[in-house]
Amino acid sequence: MLNPLRSEEEAFRFLLYVVAVVVVVLATVLVVRAVS
């Protein structure tokens, strides 16, 4: 399991996952706002 506090490599990978999730959430919210 990914543990961002175990090593720099895992922390970096966690950062990339956060960026991906945030981009998806932002895109969804912005699209829903634009449509409604």
Binding site: P4, L5, R6, S7, E8, E9, A11, F12, F14, L15, V18, V19, V22, V25, L26, V29, L30
Partner: protein, 208 residues
């Protein structure tokens, strides 16, 4: 016979009595002390940011106030460029760490220096934004929360830059190696944490 000298024919035997200085500290955790310290520190940091986000969501969701305050505007584009700069610094830091593990000292030093420069640029742009943004913390609740959240994060960047400056100084003095890189790894974890927090702060404060 001189104290400590051995009689002819005797060999040196190292056992638990052959230890100098105070006894070693007891370890109650299987996690390395330096990593455990950073883990506990980051958990407390998440709680501090959580308190600030509570204030943010309170006025936006519970009170339903306008965001930002009426008559004010947040520089989304400049902050977006700044976000890219900070995100880049995590990539250069990862590059530096990877280079060090591969015994590439030039890559390590170049990566660490670039990371510091990018972090310092981020902080400079943030301060510049404060100068030109046109509202103060005392002007409105939104202003207080904006400066509180971004300022709290800026303080973390300043701490991270101090750690990076120490790593840079040690790197240029020839410290660290492919096997001994804990002193880079722990500040690296902190720097990535600061970056993750900024992604959350930027998306909630500037975009949503």
């Amino acid at each position: 016979m001189e104290a400590g000298a051995l009689a002819p024919g005797r060999t040196v035997v190292h056992d638990e009595h052959d230890h100098h200085g105070p006894p070693e500290a007891n370890r109650s955790s299987r996690v390395e002390p330096s990593l455990l310290g950073m883990l506990l520190f980051i958990i407390s940091e998440v709680m501090i940011f959580g308190a600030f986000f509570t204030a943010y969501f309170f006025i936006r969701v519970v009170n339903g106030d306008a965001w930002p305050a009426e008559g004010t505007e947040l520089p989304k584009l400049i902050a977006g460029v700044n976000t890219a700069i900070l995100l880049s610094s995590s990539f250069t830091l990862h590059w530096a760490e990877t280079a060090l593990k591969a015994d590439n000292r030039f890559g390590f030093k170049a990566g660490m220096f670039t990371t510091f420069a990018l972090g310092a640029t981020f902080l400079f742009i943030q301060i510049n934004e404060y100068v030109h943004i046109g509202f103060s913390p005392q002007d409105s609740a939104q202003g207080t929360i904006f400066y509180g959240l971004t300022g709290l994060h800026g303080a973390h960047v300043a701490v991270g830059l101090t750690l990076l400056a120490i790593v840079n100084t040690r790197a240029f003095r020839g410290h660290f190696s492919a096997k001994e890189h804990r002193g880079v790894e722990v500040p690296g974890i902190y720097w990535h944490f600061v970056d993750v927090m900024w992604i959350v702060v930027y998306s909630t404060v500037y975009i949503l």
